[in-house]
């Protein structure tokens, strides 16, 4: 497959602050490519440079064979952008919004009407197309937001966190639309999110971005396989070198590292992680969620998390060491990110 996008050493600086630091990657024609990272990682800045909204401080990209710096107009005709915010005119109808966004790409007359009707159908809003979008629900606005990026039939669509603040039904509709566009129209898509399950579901490959840099780039399967059997994060009453060595020697454990305690956030993050990932988050004791852990927190990488949990808890019982919290991260992009950065995606 030829590459529709080749980013080469993109850098964006604001004064001394480096928002994007030497990012390079390629996206194949017809691929759904994920950019996964926490808020502030540099995903939106990267997209903004690739779509011509921001000028790179250094580096460039070729999109559809055109250079971003020297042929920006050609590049912009290939791109479609769906920004993270609802970038629409609220007092105009969905149809008027889409007609406008079609016109600025040079569509007119019958072509414009047909394209607008088509994208309204894609996002299932034909029936209410003539109502001002300020009367729409949040999910419907999101769908118009996506349609506005599609109306000129881009070859490469940038979807920047398209499901933020969306109800589950609209979220599923967005997923279906993305898959349909890719499958039926062979549209290449760059999908940014800090929801790992969205990237896992939609993308064939992903780059994990943190602090303006790509820290891993591979197929989803290979990224997850890097981790092996999952991660357990455990708050302990105490910890010494002997305990650390003993836990590392347990058969189901591959590595144990000390995580800097983050008292106020630990329990809250566990609850939030559980809510989003659907994984079990086991509290060691009943205690207020804003209570501080009594001791250090360790990250235990495992060959198989269930076995490792039994072995670690057994060892701690033998040593009469209590634990203040346990979080189990089954192998997924969330645990990969934790493994790579020591941070959670939504911290």
């Amino acid at each position: 497959m030829p590459a529709i996008l080749e980013a080469d050493g993109l850098v964006k600086k604001y004064g001394e602050h480096v928002a994007v630091d030497d990012i390079s990657f390629a996206v194949e024609e017809g691929e759904v490519f994920g950019l996964l990272g926490p808020n502030g990682a540099g995903k939106t800045t990267t997209i903004s440079m690739l779509t011509g909204v921001l000028e790179p401080t250094a580096g460039t990209a070729r999109i559809g064979g055109h250079d971003l710096r020297t042929e920006p107009t050609e590049v912009k005709r290939i791109n479609g952008l769906v920004p993270q915010d609802l970038a629409l005119y609220p007092t105009l109808s969905a149809r008027a919004n889409l007609q406008f966004f079609g016109r600025i790409y040079g569509l007119k007359g019958r072509d414009l009407r047909e394209r607008v009707d088509d994208v309204l159908e894609v996002v299932a809003l034909t029936e209410r197309a003539n109502e001002p979008i300020e009367k729409y629900s949040g999910g419907m606005k999101r769908r118009v937001n996506i349609a506005a990026g599609l109306v000129h039939q881009p070859r490469l669509l940038f979807l920047d966190e398209p499901t933020v603040g969306v109800d589950p039904q609209s979220r599923n509709h967005i997923f279906e639309s993305v898959m349909k566009l890719n499958r039926e129209r062979r549209m290449s898509i760059i999908y940014t999110s800090h929801y790992m399950e969205e990237v896992e579901l939609l993308c064939t490959r992903a780059a994990i971005v943190d602090e303006g840099r790509i820290i891993a780039l591979d197929t989803i399967r290979n990224l997850i396989a890097r981790l092996g059997g999952g991660v357990i994060q455990m708050g302990l009453e105490r910890l010494d070198d002997e305990m650390l060595a003993a836990m590392r020697a347990l058969p189901a454990v591959t590595a144990v590292t000390i995580v800097t305690p983050q008292p106020a956030a630990t329990a809250v993050a566990a609850a939030a992680a559980a809510a989003v990932t659907g994984e079990a988050a086991v509290a060691g004791e009943d205690r207020p969620t804003d209570a501080k852990p009594a001791g250090p927190v360790v990250k235990i990488e495992t060959r198989r998390s269930q076995d490792a949990l039994v072995q670690v808890v057994g060892y701690l019982n033998e040593r009469d060491v209590g634990f203040t919290s346990i979080e189990i991260f089954e192998p997924n992009l969330e645990s990969v990110f934790l493994h790579l950065t020591g941070k959670k995606l939504r911290e």
Binding site: G52, V53, L86, R103, I104, Y105, P132
Partner: protein, 427 residues
């Protein structure tokens, strides 16, 4: 570019408060202001008469106390309901015409009646004479009353003088013909008297002229009425206030994120900015048409004078086009400077009101002192208002407003270039 303009016009058409601010509010403002100004001019300290006082009419008598001049003054005093006095300094020395006009320029009096030298001799010789009322009064009804009073006395004097003249001719005929039959005197006298009476109606011996001073360089008489001053002045004020529409539209685009979409589209940055100022330009044109039409047709229905568009409508159109460009470019400048909604709606609005005041939108600068007029020239408002006054109140034409048009276009160019230079596309 045009698609941006069309979209912005669609949004504006749905923005009721913006439409009220652009079209309805100026009309309300004009009507209220003219109403208040009318009341104030009849009662304020700067006026020369209260509601129950007689209107003051200082007189400069260059006739040297001739009997005709004295009769004119007495006649106005007795019949005109005016407070007529010889205009003199505190020591009682009568002012010269130049001194009196200087006092008028200094707004110490609202008007001065000048009786020319040789007034009595001219009338006695049957030669026409002209008296002049120099006035700066903004109250058209008061000015009209003064003029009518002076004209009434002057007409009586003309008639009297011309009838006396006809009798003198009859007497001369008698003296020239000793055989003149007195029985036929009445037959001769009646047609002579009738002819003199008709002549005094059509071509009175004493003519009254009112002049308005005097623009800064001002030698041309100015036709001033509240409507002729108020409508263009407030039109300029509210036109420039619509510069905020452009600024707010750009701010909203940035806030909503649609500006990112525009930047990601194949539109260039310059066409994007031009597209943003076109709607403002169109709104200005519509505002002028609406406000001037209201001045012509609506204000008379409210008992006010009708607005007259002057003698050169193409020049008026040219001036309005320059004004529209200037206003729209100012919107880009405001958008490039203001970073918050409060800065657009508050600080920029306040600045525009101050500029409007300095530029003479509220009070014409030719009625104020020279330093105010000089300060006013740094504002685009001044040039717009001056251009309107030249066309609408002074009856001037295209050649006379080219300086206003040129300065407005220069302002537009500077506003747009500085605005585009300062514009932060990625903020």
């Amino acid at each position: 570019m045009l698609s941006i303009a069309w979209k912005d016009l669609q949004i504006l058409a749905r923005d009721r408060s913006a439409l009220i601010g652009a079209f309805l509010l100026p009309i309300v403002f004009i009507v209220v202001y003219l109403g208040v100004a009318g009341i104030a001019s009849g009662s304020s300290g700067t006026s020369d008469a209260g509601p129950s006082e007689r209107v003051a009419l200082p007189v400069v008598d260059l006739d040297g106390g001739g009997p005709a001049a004295a009769a004119l003054v007495e006649g106005i005093q007795a019949d005109g309901g005016l407070d007529v006095t010889v205009y003199a300094d505190p020591a009682g020395r009568p002012y010269t015409e130049a001194e009196a006009l200087a006092k008028l320029d200094a707004k110490e009096v609202q008007r001065v009646l000048v009786i020319p030298a040789g007034f009595t001799a001219d009338l006695q010789a049957g030669r026409p004479a002209t008296v002049t009322i120099h006035s700066i009064s903004l109250d058209p009804s008061q000015s009209q009353a003064v003029q009518m009073a002076v004209e009434g006395v002057a007409r009586t004097m003309s008639l009297e003088r011309q009838i006396v003249s006809s009798l003198e001719r009859l007497a001369a005929m008698q003296r020239a013909q000793p055989s003149f039959d007195p029985a036929t005197a009445a037959d001769l006298a009646i047609p002579i008297a009738r002819a003199q009476f008709e002549e005094s109606q059509g071509r009175p011996l004493v003519t009254v002229v009112e002049t308005r001073p005097l623009a800064a360089e001002g030698k041309e008489p100015v036709v001033i009425s509240g409507v002729q001053l108020g409508v263009p002045g407030f039109a300029v004020l509210f036109i420039f206030l619509t510069a905020q529409v452009t600024a707010r539209s750009i701010y909203d685009e940035k806030k909503n994120g649609t500006f990112r979409r525009l930047l990601a589209s194949p539109l260039g940055k310059w066409p994007m900015l031009v597209g943003k100022l076109i709607p403002n330009f169109i709104v200005v044109l519509l505002q002028v048409v609406f406000l001037f039409a209201a001045g012509m047709f609506l204000l008379p229905l409210m008992g006010l004078d009708a607005l007259h568009l002057g003698n050169d409508v193409p020049a008026l159109v040219l001036l309005v086009l320059a004004l529209g460009l200037c206003c729209a470019a100012l919107g880009i400048l405001i958008a490039s400077i203001a970073r918050t909604e409060a800065q657009i709606g508050g600080i920029a609005a306040l600045a525009l009101w101050v500029l409007a005041f300095l530029g003479g939108c509220f009070i014409p600068l030719f009625l104020l002192n020279e330093s105010m007029a000089t300060i006013g020239q740094v504002t685009p408002h001044y040039w717009a208002v001056t251009g309107f006054y030249d066309l609408l109140t002074r009856g001037k034409g295209l050649a006379d407003v080219l300086d206003s048009v040129a300065v407005l276009l220069a302002f537009a160019g500077v506003f747009f270039l500085v605005g585009a230079w300062r514009f932060e596309f990625d903020r």
